[in-house]
């Protein structure tokens, strides 16, 4: 950065050399970002030892189906994918509903202790998850929720970030006049929320939904703690299990499963990347 800027110390606009240098760095950076995805695909189409070929193999071959068949023998791949989908969809739906509701109350209602309660919500963001993991495990054991999806879904049903995020958006996007008009027409509180506020704030809900889904889908620590039986494993645990095989690692098989598990996320991301990135940046700007 310093190098590049001193180079053009007296220039108003950077010259051709700087432009070339900038593009070079940016493209190399992008190549670093993308290469592991490509490599994952290449290895998934090669035989067992493809990952350690010298020099490294950079073109796909035709072993993908064979590799993925072995992955299906080693794990309950599609079952795990289904489990992840059930958990992630339930959590996302619930987070969207409860966080929007609470964010709406914090943005548009006056009630006693509103400010301290909101600060309390923000404060909980700074508490690391691991601090409460042992008692939460004990609670799950008492409720006999160990090794069930309830243990994954219920604690995640509403979160502080979502409330904060929805409150920020609703404050500016939903006009109080609209709510008042609804009240004059005799709508109840929930109907105003559902029929007047929610339709206006779907962009913010889309972003929150995408992020919640991704985080739940990618979570590893808590599922590892509470899931015991392989038929309940989420896809992340199933992938990790493939990696613990003792008799020599079959990287073609592992990468084919990893590729199949990453592909859906990648497709969703490339289709909706606008929502991801605006969500990410405006979240950072506001906090």
């Amino acid at each position: 950065m310093v190098k590049a800027s001193t180079r053009n110390r007296n220039a108003d606009k950077p010259g051709f050399a700087a432009s070339f240098f900038y593009h070079l760095v940016l493209i190399v950076g992008a190549a670093f970002s993308v290469f592991p995805f490509y490599w994952m695909f290449v290895i998934s189409t090669r035989d067992k030892s493809g990952a350690f070929h010298v020099p490294p193999l950079l073109t796909p071959s035709d072993q993908f189906v064979a590799n993925f068949k072995r992955a299906l023998e080693q794990s309950d791949f599609f079952h795990a994918l289904g489990n992840s989908a059930i958990v992630s969809i339930s959590v996302t739906a619930s987070v969207l509903f409860f966080c929007t509701l609470a964010g709406y109350a914090f943005a548009k209602y006056q009630f006693r202790f509103k400010t301290p309660l909101f600060f309390f919500v923000i404060g909980t963001l700074f508490v690391p998850q691991q601090l409460g993991v042992l008692p939460t495990y004990v609670i799950m054991a008492k409720l006999q929720w160990i090794d069930t999806y309830k243990a994954l879904i219920v604690p995640a049903m509403v979160n502080a970030f979502g409330i904060f995020w929805m409150r920020q958006y609703i404050s500016s996007a939903v006009h109080t006049e609209l709510i008042e008009a609804g009240r004059i027409d005799g709508c109840g509180h929930f109907r105003i929320f559902w029929n007047i506020a929610v339709p206006v704030i779907t962009p913010a809900m889309a972003t929150l939904g995408i992020f919640t889904f991704l985080n739940t889908w990618n979570d590893f620590f808590w599922p590892l703690v509470v899931l015991k039986n392989s038929e309940h494993f989420t896809i992340q645990i199933a992938l990790q299990q493939l990696f613990t095989v003792r008799d020599g690692l079959d990287y073609g098989m592992i990468m084919s499963a990893t590729f199949m598990a990453t592909l859906p996320l990648l497709v969703v991301f490339l289709l909706f990347s606008r929502w991801f990135i605006t969500g990410l940046t405006s979240g950072a700007v506001k906090s």
Binding site: S33, C99, F111, V154, T258, L270, L280
Partner: protein, 316 residues
């Protein structure tokens, strides 16, 4: 000023509005109650219980026996704890510092107006972040195998092999590079949005006053970017103190390898104390200490960046 429902309702009207007001308050409490109920059960209670538990000896099944500070003493006297502590700090630093510097460089270049590929590049830079840590670790473990691409690259450049999955530094570099790969683009995009929020007339004024590009960087860009830098430093510090998945998966190949000393982190230590050894008391003590360290680091972070901020203002 934003008007709210209550402000409208409080206008001097007829009496029934009062009950309507109370109704509104109750509705608001009802709307926010799910969070507080859930947090009480799965947030607050576990935290208090963790602190309580850290004074007891317990295997999660039998009766609890009060042992005072003994758990803390055990943890502090356990060399493995200190190894995990040192590893966590070292990997944090190795992962966070290059990550944020590279992110800043990329963001400044993206924002320079030189490239028309900004939108496309943003998407590519963000791609690593959507991948699950497990997937990242599995892919990177092929780079860092004994005959993997990492060593091939070193050999081509004329260096010797590095034992990426068993060497003391090798493991740390491998894990730090996974962290860097997954988070650099994320931070670059946050910095980019910060850079875009800086008004361009500031730069114009500086140019008229004869400020060079590096002076503009030092006196306009970095000070105005400070909140964003603070945000990312704080987030990545807290995140890296909780490092678990990368070393757990990377070193977990042979079943019990994840507690190996080259890569054990504080959360892995906590996890194995509780769920492998059934020492819930010492695990709770570890959790409390991890929390205190997190707070300490956040405070130090804020303090240092405030000091640095004061400095630039003083010079400018």
């Amino acid at each position: 000023m934003e008007r709210s429902i209550e402000a409208a309702a409080a206008r001097p009207l007829k009496r029934p509005w009062m009950t309507e007001n109370r109704r509104g308050q109750l509705t608001a409490y009802l709307f926010i109650s799910p969070f507080f109920l859930l947090f009480a059960v799965f947030g607050l209670y576990p935290i208090i219980f963790t602190i309580y538990l850290s004074f007891f000896k317990w295997d999660a099944l039998g009766p609890m026996t009060y042992v005072g500070m003994q758990n803390y003493k055990w943890v502090v006297e356990d060399p493995t704890f200190w190894i995990s502590f040192g590893n966590t700090l070292l990997i944090s630093a190795m992962g966070t510092v290059p990550q944020l510097i590279i992110a800043l460089v990329l963001a400044v270049m993206l924002n320079s107006g030189l490239t028309r590929m900004k939108k496309g590049l943003r998407v590519l830079y963000f791609m690593p972040n959507i991948t699950s840590i497990v997937a990242v670790t599995l892919v990177f473990s092929t780079f860092f195998g004994n005959h993997g691409m990492g060593n091939w690259l070193l050999n081509t450049l004329g260096f010797d092999d590095v034992a990426w999955n068993s060497g003391w530094w090798g493991v740390k570099i491998a894990i730090a590079s996974m962290v860097i790969w997954r988070w650099t683009g994320y931070n670059a995009i946050i910095y980019l949005s910060g850079l875009q929020s800086i008004p361009t007339d500031l730069y114009e004024a500086a140019r008229i006053d004869g400020a060079s590009r590096s002076q503009q960087m030092a006196y306009i860009t970095l000070p105005l970017l400070k909140p964003f830098i603070l945000f990312t430093v704080l987030l990545s510090t807290i995140g890296s103190l909780q490092l678990f998945t990368e070393p757990y998966v990377f070193l977990g190949q042979s079943g019990t390898g994840s507690t190996r000393q080259e890569g054990i982190t504080m959360v892995i230590y906590l996890y194995s104390e509780a769920f492998r050894n059934s020492f819930f008391g010492t695990a709770a003590a570890t959790a409390v200490m991890l929390f205190l360290i997190t707070i300490l680091f956040s405070v130090v972070n804020m303090w240092v960046s405030n000091r640095l901020g004061g400095d630039t203002e003083g010079r400018g």
